[in-house]
Every structure is written in structure tokens, then in C-alpha cells.
């Protein structure tokens, strides 16, 4: 069952909603503004009544899989349970109703929350200070690299390269490039870990930083992290930590202790702020002492109980977004940390590792395991063993959808052919993991007996497998002007429809 677009449900003369009236007489826009400043015809927004609107969105909602109803083992994304109380807290009028430009005295509670959250995050990752400004992980990566650049610059060093492992997430090289660095790729060894030899050969006086996540995107802990840190620091470069995998070791170890100088965290992963179908998230960045002067302004400072925003930071890289970050998300993350406590967070990571190794064990007979375990909080399998059947990782993913599971991350990391990256998280029960494993087994055996049926998956969802190739071709046609159909938006039939 699919749902029409709001634009398609729209009817010309439906009443607009009742809205406040201007009690005051006096001039309107048309009376005062020059004619050519005015809009010539009303925007083509749909016209629907409230009951139709609510039903429209209710039906759309029912077309989604989400953690609220489905196991969502999306590797590298830490799709864990989002506590409902987080939402209650963020909705408190004392938070949701604050204007960012109120006087500091009138927002002491908000600043106190930010300060406490900063302290808590420092304790979890082992750094000196944290900026809460970045809106997401990639934003945090870029912010950190700006700080690293400023640091080197302040020492009149001209370092132009950032090293990134071949297994790294795409945002790492992209953030490095946006920050003005050349990206140099470091190879992974056969054991799935970064090759020290290759790293050695890539490190140079031009190296500004090495970006690493640990456990790496294969879910493997970089055993030689301490040597790596030493090598990097020896060349005067900095070590950057991509915190997407923080869920693996809260209370077990800390990036700061491993030698990382800057660390971003995805509050929308490890700290249960909801993903929202693609954000908003929050990507705070923690730094060691040498980088503190370069933090974005303002920082939150606390002097005998009184909180202030410190804008006077001469060496700061400046501002990376408006105001103070995604405050609503910070409230949710702090709520989670309060409820879990140090004990809860540590147990969460241990359960995450336990669940990943358990599930890995259950499916290791069915899918290829390119690297040896134990894994940390996630593992990367491969559908390569189905190659001869013509069944690919994508087919396995789609078949899982038909069994009411969201699919693992596929084809990432790029270093593993037919990669299937599975992150169960600590909030999924053993029963759920068992039934997921049974489904994998069933699909793999079907690959041997009836591969064609897998290419046809999914069949129980609102739509079948969508033809992205044709879609892309139609977009090109539009962009090249050979077609009127925008494909990327609705347009009134008259002027060419989707």
C-alpha cells in the first residue's frame, strides 16, 4: 500500500487553517512595499484539511521500519533503544522555550547542563575539554581538523596531509579535504588492522594528523594503538579519533589514554539521541590540552557555581554553527547519562560487545568472516561465499527486510568485498539475535536452492526493489534539459509530472 503525495491530495478551495487575526488596522505588505519586491503568485503549497494531513503522515509513518518496531542492525550506526524519557526532558518548557539570546543569568540551568555534559563526556573519552557546537559527526571531524590545522599553524608548521585508513568512513576523507588537507590513504593489513609498515611509509613532516577509529570499521580493536600513537606523535602529527564506535568500550578504555589528541562523539549513536530518519544529531569534539586554545567560541565556563559563555578566545577557530549546538539533543544525551550512570554505561558497552560476538558466532557458519575474532561491538561479514550462486550482499539485505528486520550496512567498509556490517547493540534481546540468525541461515540456504527468489526480494513491503539506475537516468535527462520531469521534486502536472 502506497500513499499519494500531499500535493496530489491537495484540492483548490480547501479552507486555510484558522489563524490569529491582526486586530490592528493599518497598512499591509501590499500597501507599503514596492510592487517588484512582492511575490507575484502564491507559493504552490498543497491545500489540505487537518484531518487529511494527519492521516497522510500517519500512513507515511506506517511505511517505515524503525527501532521502535524492528531490529535495526545497521553497522557503524549504533541503532540502540531511544529512551522515551529523553523526549520528555527535551520538551520541558524550561529547555524548549529558551531563546538563545537571553541574558546568561536567565539560562543558568541550560548552561549548567551543558557544562555537566561536557564534564561527563570528558570522563568517558579521557580528554581535557569538549565543544558541544558541532551538529553531527562529520561536522565534528571537520571542526577537529580545523583545530589541528590551527595548532600546527600556531607553531608555524606547514602540514598539508591527513592520513586516513582505507577502511575509514567516507566522512573522514571528505572532512579532511574540506578542511584543506590532502588525503593520504593508509592500507589495512590482512588482519583487517592498519598496516604499521604502510603507516610508517606515509608519515612525514607534511603529516598533520592520522584519523582513526578504534575499534576500526571492521569492529576490530587496533591492538597496536599505542605504537601507532607514538609513531604519529614522533613526527609531530596529531592523532584524531572518529567516535562513531565509542559504544564498544565505555568504561573499558578511553581514546584519550590511547593517545588520541582529538575525539568526536556521535551523541545520536552512543548516547541514544534519536536518529530522526537522518538527524538531527550532535557531534561534540573533545580535545587534549594542546588543542584547548583553538576550541570554537563560545565555551561554557563555571566559576563558583556561576556559568558564563566565554567568547574571548583569541586562538579559537571561530564558530562552526549558530548559537551553542543542537541543545535539544544535548538535553537528551545528558538525560541518558544521568539515568545510566557510570555503572550503566560500562555495562552497556560490555553487553554490546557480548551481543556482537554472540551474533557473529551464530552466523559464522553461513557467511564468510574475513577477519578473526573476537570483535568488539560490531562485525563485518561477507556474502562473498555466495558468489557462485549469483546472490550478493544486497540480495541478503533485501531478503532480511522481508523478515521484518532492517538490513545491516552493506558494501561498507570498502576494503571487504560484499561486506555485511552488523551492529546489534546492547538493547536487543537474545531472542531477537537468535531469530535474526535463523533468518540469515534460511536466506543463505535459499541462495543455494533458489537464488532467483532472492533477487526478487523484498516482496512484502510497500514497494519492491526500486530501480535506481533508471531513476538516475531520468535525473540526468532533467539536468541536461532533455526532460521536463524534475524527478527530485513534485511539480504540478501542467508543468511536467513525476
Amino acid at each position: 500500500m502506497t500513499e499519494p503525495l500531499s500535493f496530489e491530495l491537495s484540492r483548490p478551495a480547501v479552507d486555510p487553517p484558522r489563524l490569529p487575526e491582526a486586530e490592528v488596522a493599518g497598512p499591509g505588505p501590499a500597501d507599503l512595499l514596492p510592487h517588484d519586491a512582492l511575490r507575484s503568485r502564491p507559493p504552490g503549497l498543497p491545500r489540505l484539511s487537518e484531518p487529511e494531513i494527519m492521516r497522510h503522515y500517519s500512513r507515511l509513518a506506517s511505511l517505515n521500519y524503525s527501532i521502535s518496531e524492528n531490529f535495526y542492525p545497521l553497522g557503524s550506526c549504533t541503532m540502540k533503544y531511544n529512551p522515551v524519557v529523553n523526549e520528555t526532558a527535551a520538551a520541558l518548557a524550561g529547555f524548549a522555550g529558551l531563546h538563545p539570546y537571553q541574558d546568561e543569568d536567565s539560562v543558568q540551568g541550560a548552561l549548567e547542563l551543558m557544562w555537566r555534559l561536557e564534564r561527563a563526556l570528558c570522563a568517558v573519552v579521557g580528554v581535557e575539554r569538549v565543544t558541544l557546537q558541532p551538529a553531527a559527526g562529520a561536522h565534528g571531524e571537520w571542526t577537529a581538523l580545523r583545530m589541528i590545522a590551527a595548532f600546527h599553524h600556531s607553531r608555524n608548521e606547514n602540514r598539508t596531509e591527513v592520513l586516513v585508513p582505507d577502511s575509514a568512513h567516507g566522512t573522514n576523507p571528505a572532512s579532511a579535504a574540506l578542511s584543506g588537507f590532502q588525503v593520504v590513504e593508509v592500507r589495512s593489513g590482512p588482519d583487517g588492522r592498519i598496516s604499521l609498515a604502510d603507516l610508517e611509509s606515509k608519515l612525514s613532516p607534511r603529516t598533520a594528523a592520522l584519523m582513526l577509529t578504534n575499534p576500526n570499521t571492521l569492529g576490530l580493536f587496533e591492538r597496536e594503538i599505542l605504537d601507532i600513537a607514538e609513531m604519529v606523535h614522533a613526527t609531530g602529527a596529531m592523532l584524531y579519533y572518529d567516535g562513531a564506535n565509542l559504544n564498544a568500550f565505555m568504561g573499558i578504555c578511553r581514546p584519550g589514554d590511547m593517545g588520541f589528541d582529538a575525539v568526536h562523539m556521535n551523541l545520536h549513536k552512543t548516547f541514544t539521541t534519536p536518529h530522526g530518519g537522518g538527524g538531527p544529531g550532535a557531534g561534540p569534539v573533545g580535545v587534549k590540552a594542546e588543542l584547548v586554545p583553538f576550541l570554537p567560541a563560545p565555551t561554557v565556563e563555571r566559576t563558583n557555581g556561576h556559568l558564563t559563555l566565554d567568547y574571548k578566545r583569541p586562538q579559537s577557530i571561530g564558530r562552526v554553527r549558530t548559537f551553542y549546538g543542537n541543545f535539544g539533543m544535548l538535553v537528551r544525551a545528558y538525560t541518558y547519562i544521568l539515568a545510566m550512570g557510570g555503572d550503566g554505561l560500562s555495562q552497556a558497552s560490555q553487553d554490546a560487545v557480548l551481543s556482537a560476538n554472540y551474533l557473529r558466532k551464530l552466523v559464522e557458519g553461513d557467511l564468510e568472516m574475513p577477519h578473526e575474532g573476537p570483535c568488539m561491538h560490531e562485525f563485518v561479514a561477507s556474502a562473498h561465499n555466495l558468489h557462485d550462486t549469483g546472490v550478493r550482499a544486497l540480495d541478503v539485505a533485501k531478503a532480511l527486510l522481508d523478515k521484518h528486520f532492517y538490513a545491516p550496512t552493506v558494501y561498507f567498509p570498502l576494503v571487504v568485498p560484499e561486506a555485511i556490517m552488523v551492529e546489534p547493540t546492547e538493547t536487543e534481546s537474545k531472542d531477537t539475535l537468535d531469530s535474526f540468525a535463523r533468518s540469515v541461515k534460511e536466506i543463505v540456504s535459499r541462495a543455494r536452492t533458489d537464488p532467483a527468489s532472492l533477487h526478487a526480494e523484498p516482496t512484502n513491503l510497500p514497494v519492491g526493489r526500486l530501480d535506481e539506475v533508471t531513476a538516475a537516468r531520468r535525473i540526468n535527462a532533467y539536468l541536461q534539459g532533455t526532460s521536463e520531469d524534475p524527478v527530485l521534486r513534485w511539480k504540478a502536472p501542467s508543468d511536467g509530472a513525476s
Binding site: 493599518g26 519586491a37 540502540k80 530518519g277 537522518g278 573476537p374 513534485w490
Partner: protein, 430 residues
Amino acid sequence: MPYLVHSPEDRAAMLETIGVESIDDLLVDIPQSLRLDGLQLPAGLSEFDTMAELSTLAARNRVFPDRLTLRGGGVYRRFIPAAVAAVTSKPEFYTAYTPYQAEASQGTLQAIFEYQSLIAELTGLDVSNASLYDGATAVAEAAMMAYVQTGRNEVIVSGYVHPEYVQVLRAFGEGRGIKVRKGGEPNKKTAAVIFQQPDFLGLLVDARALTQAAHDAGALAIACVDPISLAVLAPPGEYGADIAVGEGQQLGLTPSFGGPHVGFLACKKELVRKMPGRLVGVAHDAQGRRGFVLSLAAREQHIRREKATSNICTNHSLCALGAAVYLTYMGPYGLKQVADVSFRRAHALAERLKALPGWELAFPEKQFLNEFPMRVPKAPAVLRKLGRKGILGGLEVGRWFRELKGVVTFTCTEVNDARALDELVEALQS
């Protein structure tokens, strides 16, 4: 412990299946020297005590009622239909991830496709992306697009653009070696002219002339617009701007001390391949059923890596959903009424304020919609007095612009009813 599902029995059984004695056996790759036992954080609290703690913090903030809030400067109090939260609080929307698996994410994908279409209609441009972090990063991303498109490395910021947007633009620019110039004529080094309509002070700028000047110099015109103003003002598409960006907070999102809100970005089709972020498009299945998918991914970091148009991955989907619900609720005429009521009240208020002794419009010759700058004698004292009376007065903009010391911008919207404005004026007269 809260939110953990395994019982001790479950854990034992799982360890046995794995074939190890204890969790530690799974952590062997971690050098002993790095191992902690636990975190230096207090033990967890019950949900009741957690909420008690948060309520205490919330109570240490002062919340001014909507109707007595006259401060804007980028974040505004507006009527938010209950429908918005009713939709964005649906777990099927807010607990889903970025819709990588299209067939199981049609709800999010279609909603974002509708958002893109709404923004395109509103701005009069060809294509909108799926959202950005906020207005400031939207301006910066637009500048990057111009830089890549033109191969020129200077952008001009014309007039009173939100100072924090400019700060963010500078920080972004530095990485790429893009110079940010305040004002001046565009020339052959100019990648783009960036202006805000209405500007940070609420005043209208001559968007057509600025756009023309940019184009004459072979630069792009980037219009940073107030989405609600577009119900009455000519949209960027009408006067030829190449890219429209802006902050979507006014489209149904709470102030929340500055975030999360949403940045929107729309452009001419010639620029689509340079666009940052997600784009949702139409696709069909084997049976010819229409569906929606993430499109043109080849621009993005997960495919292009260091060559991507941007590093953005997680964006502000749920805020975009909220904006889509808001715009759908309002429709063309509802949105127009909101803009119209705000305009009339603001102009009525301006008349009353400039009648106060010593008060005057800072730019009497300029037009405005629903935010306007006044010269206010003893501004700090006046605002403190209002605060004591429970009124969040205007915003002192001298903090950012030396030449505007003593200037305060006041904002009026549909939430500031006539009685509220009377209270304000009385408070000022007392």
C-alpha cells in the same frame, strides 16, 4: 540497569555459545595498560530521580511567554500547530536512520521528497536538498558551491547578514582558502555575492539589484531568506538568484536555546551536481509502483570520499519533516496570513515605539516586514526593566556592529497579540 535487556542468565548462555569464560576474554585485543575498571561518573538514577534533576535544571532557566517575547535575531516565536509535534513524535519517524534501505523507509523518503518540493515551491528554484544543519552552515555550503562552480575564491557578504552566519562562513572558508569580503563591488575574483532578505536587522534589501550585480561580474547570487517572508516577498527564483538558503526554525520548530533547527538550500538545476547533502528522488519498482530513493549519491562522501561536494552525512531530517508538516498545515493562504498579521502588528508597534521620548527608527528610510531596528536611549537599562516585568524585549545589535550601539531590533509575529503589545508599551512608559 535501565535500557539493558540481558539477564544474567542470558549473558551466561551467550558467553557459553561464544565459547569463552567471561567478557574479558572478548577484550583481549585491548592492551592491559589501557583497561579501566569503570568510569568516574556517579551511579545511575531512577527515571523519577532523573526527571527530578532535569526539572530542577529547567527551573533554573527563565522562560518568557511567547506573547511577551519580542526578541528575534534568527530565532522567533511563532504559532506551532499541535500537528507538527504529533507527527515528529511518531517513533516510526524519529527512531529511523537515514533511509539507506529505500523499501523499508518509504515514510521518511516520501516526507523528505515532499519537504524538497515545498522548499522548491517556496523559493521558486528548481531543486532543494534534504536539509542542512542550520542557516549558517547552509550559507557556508552555498559559498562552497559557488567556489567550486566558478573556480573563484572570494565571496562578498553584502550588508547586514546575520553575524554568526558570517563567522561560520569564515571558519568554513579558511579550510578551503576562500576569502570572505564584507561589502564592495563584485569583480572577476568574486565567486558569489551573499545577501540576506530581510537582513539581520529586519530591513529589506534590493535583492534584484544585488543579484544583477553579481551576475554582471560572473558571480553567483546567494539569497539567505526568511522562509515565512516568502509568502509575501518575491522568491529568489523570481529575481534570478542562483541559490537560496536560510534557517527553517520558524517553520514549526521550538527555540530550544538555538537548536536543533534546520538549514534549507535550493538552487537552479545547473548547480544540482554541486549540491551538498542528501537528495530524494522518484524511482519505480518492477511492477511500476512509484517509490522514493536517495539520489545522485555520487556527489556524496560515502561514494566520492575526499572528492565529495560536502562531508555532511547525518543532516536534520526530523526538523525538515517538522517544517514540511508546518508548511502543509499552513498552505499558501495560511502562510500568507501569518506573514501578513506579523507585518501589520510590527508596523503598528513601530509607530507606537517611535512615539516614545527619544526613540526613533534606526533606518526610517528603509522598509521592513516584522522585525525592525530602533535607536533606544539607555537600551541596556530599558531591556533589564522589561525583563523584570516578564517581557523579553528586543535584541541589542551593537554587540556585533560598532556603528549600531544603542540600536535594538524588535520582532512581532502572530503570537504577540494586541494586549501583549499594550503591556509592552505600558511597561516602557512606566
